[in-house]
Symmetry: C3
Subunit: 156 residues, 3 copies
């Protein structure tokens, strides 16, 4: 089973893993759009002295969600909202409409993105790519208070 030349893998590093650090992030959104959580998660990693392991995010809602996306050009985020609006439009004959026309599209957009996400921690830092940021996506029009559970598991 030789590895194809197009894939290479580094020698694995191995550590003892004995610690879990949990924290709750509360985010006040301003209505539909993205909130960058990256700095808060980096701060948790710093404060906890996390060295190697995994940070998991879990959002406790069904009309707001999580995604990893580009942190450079803000028009990317505008286009992502446009795309979600086209994939799950308002007024498209949904049965569930008692909570407003933006509620059922919000559930669909949540299903199409992420409720839980993992980011590895290596050498004491989030192992993000250069262009990656961690976003909460508010799918409702009105501002909401959203809760995200953060949990690091690994070596501190």
């Amino acid at each position: 089973m030789p590895s194809p030349k197009s894939i290479s893998r580094s020698a694995p590093s191995t550590v003892a893993a004995t610690t879990i650090v949990s924290s709750l992030l509360t985010v006040q959104t301003r209505g539909a759009g993205f909130t960058d959580l990256t700095a808060e998660i980096a701060k948790l990693v710093d404060e906890a002295g996390a060295q190697e392991g995994m940070v998991t995010l879990f959002i406790r809602h069904t009309s707001a969600s999580l995604t990893m996306q580009e942190n450079a050009d803000p028009t990317v985020l505008d286009d992502l909202l446009t795309a979600l609006g086209r994939l799950a439009p308002e007024g498209a004959g949904w049965s569930h409409d008692t909570e407003g026309p933006d509620d059922m599209p919000a559930h669909i957009r949540t299903m199409l993105t992420a409720t839980s996400l993992q980011i590895p921690v290596l050498k004491g830092r989030l192992a993000l790519g250069t262009w990656q940021a961690i976003y909460l996506i508010e799918h409702r029009r009105a501002p909401h208070r959203r809760e995200v559970v953060l949990q690091f598991a690994g070596r501190i």
Copy 2:
């Protein structure tokens, strides 16, 4: 790097993590639709005495998937199926059709939702939001036997 006022974070709690509990869930579906797995996963957490950590779900299939969604109004689930049907319709010129017209749409709907999901455990309970339930989505028309690996990692 001051935290924007719109985000706050609780003081982290830290525990030693030394245990993994694994279990296999077998689900008999009745054809396309949702099966609520929440009670079974809560039972695993109870029985294992899980206190703090993460439950991971992994579905061992490519035409059935997982999602976190609203547990209150069943019309939400109807609309989610409608949305998946519009995003990945049958009879849309797919090349892969030897296993029936509902097979390729089932693969696409699996790709657009989740194969693995995490739910944190805090103070001995799943840290779900008020309206969240954990669902298996059967994407094939016919009933199927589906397997979901459950794994808790953390402190018991």
Copy 3:
């Protein structure tokens, strides 16, 4: 809270979990399409002597992503690309177009699939279903060098 007859669950197995093994996979893609990572991940599990736990994959990019999909009929992969092309088409009036017409669709297709994935390890093997493979999806037209962090957490 009786379990519905349609769901059954195996007796949980419990082990001490003390080890994290991390590795970086570098993948040279040939342009838009799928690269099967399954053999490389199985090799990491073998070499690390991983017995029970979870492998997490995290891709460090916002225009390439991960998915679990069928490993048997290659037309499934063709149709998945077709589906992603229909859900996030080029030339659909995106604002972000400075990096080429395939860039914004690549970000959307990344958002609709996965940036992180988990696969359980049981009895020293990846607990994949018969038809499951782990794929990197390149969403750009040009070849790219992509990095995927692999991390096993559990008992070795």
